[in-house]
Symmetry: C2
Subunit: 412 residues, 2 copies
Amino acid sequence: MPTTSARAAYEALVARGLKLDLTRGKPSPAQLELAAPLLAMDLSHDYRAADGTDVRNYGGDTGLPELRAIFGDLLHIPVEQLLALGNASLAVMHDTIVHALLHGVPGGNVPWRDDDVAFLCPSPGYDRHFSITEAFGIRMIPVPFDEDGRLPLDVIAEHLKDPAVRGMWCVPMFANPGGEVYDEETVRALVSLPAAAPDFRLFWDNAYSVHVLTDEFPPVIDVLGLAADAGNPDRVFVFASTSKITMAGSGVAFFGSSPTNVAWYRKHASVQTIGPDKVNQLRHARHLQDADGVRALMQRHRAIIQPKFAAVERILQERLGTPGSGGVARWTTPAGGYFVALTGPAGTATRAVDLARDAGIAITPAGAAFPYGEDPDDAVIRIAPTFPALDEVEAAVDGLCTCLLLAIEERA
Amino acid sequence: MPTTSARAAYEALVARGLKLDLTRGKPSPAQLELAAPLLAMDLSHDYRAADGTDVRNYGGDTGLPELRAIFGDLLHIPVEQLLALGNASLAVMHDTIVHALLHGVPGGNVPWRDDDVAFLCPSPGYDRHFSITEAFGIRMIPVPFDEDGRLPLDVIAEHLKDPAVRGMWCVPMFANPGGEVYDEETVRALVSLPAAAPDFRLFWDNAYSVHVLTDEFPPVIDVLGLAADAGNPDRVFVFASTSKITMAGSGVAFFGSSPTNVAWYRKHASVQTIGPDKVNQLRHARHLQDADGVRALMQRHRAIIQPKFAAVERILQERLGTPGSGGVARWTTPAGGYFVALTGPAGTATRAVDLARDAGIAITPAGAAFPYGEDPDDAVIRIAPTFPALDEVEAAVDGLCTCLLLAIEERA
């Protein structure tokens, strides 16, 4: 039974009639202002890429070399192995799976659609990854991170003995929602482990490689080089984008891989399109300048969003106690990325999110970060603090704590 | 045996050492200059759509209503049935087929990938359409236009009795490469004819609806309304784009269809992407203003390209004689679009194109406009006069005539 005080606190929260939203992992208007030069830039007399290409016309399936060079530097990918594409890396991932389903991938014998196909899904993870594999009927195998945010390499090694396992979703840096960063040992293992399927692929979504919440940019591990060294040069498809660097809806996506895989992607993409929007790519190259230009810009993002993450942490600690020392929950304190994962006692997440909704605080549905929307412990709540203003973040997280505390007491 | 004069004319042509290109159906730099306002526009203080949406951020899978309204007017499609999407209508067509292959379409029982699937292909047609269906192993059935540029409706009716026939490529106005315009009788028949497959679809690529070469804009037939009237509301997928209205590589593509089909497309697209590039869409809406704004712009395009088409026609007539009155070839005189189709005697096209290549004049490979690249008569040559300068068009077409005349004599 809930104590009078937990119930009373919740009723007081409801009475406030809040209307807040912590669901959206998207940049705030203040962050989008950092992209103003992209919107103001006049290219009407200056529409040629460095190689002389008229960016207004058709063609150029690889994207602009000068923009690929900037992100090749950041991602440790040779420019000829990195393509600059459309406005959404999600679409590049989706289309890569489509090409695999309908045509197969290098090293494989059949189109995936003609076979039993499973993906390993580190969990919690990115709901939109899981939506793609679910939509295509690809069997998803959850692989829980351990409590230290590490992947269980022994479990993965065991799964890879199953020839149905053809792919694995990976967010190697500042993962959504847990903020995990793969260390070099993990990366070496993932590119080296024996796999029964000759066409097993890591879907390496390096969405947040430069999206730091400190003044430090951790090294981006050369996953393609390590894979080649391990004798598995074609194992990795790398994805990235500028969505949370420049403009969320109007950025540029990237695909990087081995020469064989890049040729495979270009072959199938050439049936789909004559080429990406090179005008937007030229704007991006001019705006970002070089890898240091990107890092400087990301520090300006950090200045806007880090106080929001600090507020989340402060309020969680004030309201929920110290994790491991009598506190009722634990949470991540990410050094980058867009999310905080809050883990309460088993069986409380759905109830807490429902209570929050009824109090006018929108929280991502419990379970959303797990394959098929199923959190086996019903424990993880995803907090996305970047979009709302600081005072809204504070009010929403404080209200969420009130809801979680009531949900915990209800179960007691 | 060739006459001495045809051979000598060809040798003189080779001796000129030309380097010309008639292959590319793309806008000329002068046409792209018409889009300069898109490149110069400053949206940095003005980034909201008419409904208040911040176009810089994520979301908005339908595209901007004000841009959809402009093209809804032009295409006779209610705005709620028209989506504004990415930079390439080819990609929208490709992805529509992908969704059909992997999920099926409304009214159908199975994903197309699990069935024998065939497409009707009016021929000659657009090579990139045929590349998509070929890449997916969809059986292509050529349906030749008659000499008056009309579709043989009786032949089509017969094919539609085959339940494998699930799609038909249609370019209803100023088709590539023959310039054909479907009349209302043809459109009514296509949306009305009984089809054995309950999920038969017309892939209605209205790529050139406003791309006129005269001062007249022919009415755009309300194909969705006629289909609904005929009791086949879901039969038509309409595609269009601004690629040859604004910028070829950086335009906006459109998908229009019945409410059921639009919901189907959005459902599958929502797995693929969070939304299209709304910044580019806002630029387009501001630049084009309304349907009349588009038509006025297309008259400026016409002023640039119509003289090139006139030169093609004049030179063909001078060099090849009057069709039907002792001339050795016939050709189209399109009232819109981007191409002229030149038809010589059977068995001459490949040879003429090869001769032209050796004389430094690049012509689209013979057969390219036919399914599987196979022109049964080896007779059709596609001429794309928009991109080169006028004097280059003249020199290239004159040279091509020299090549065709030699090819004809060689066969005599």
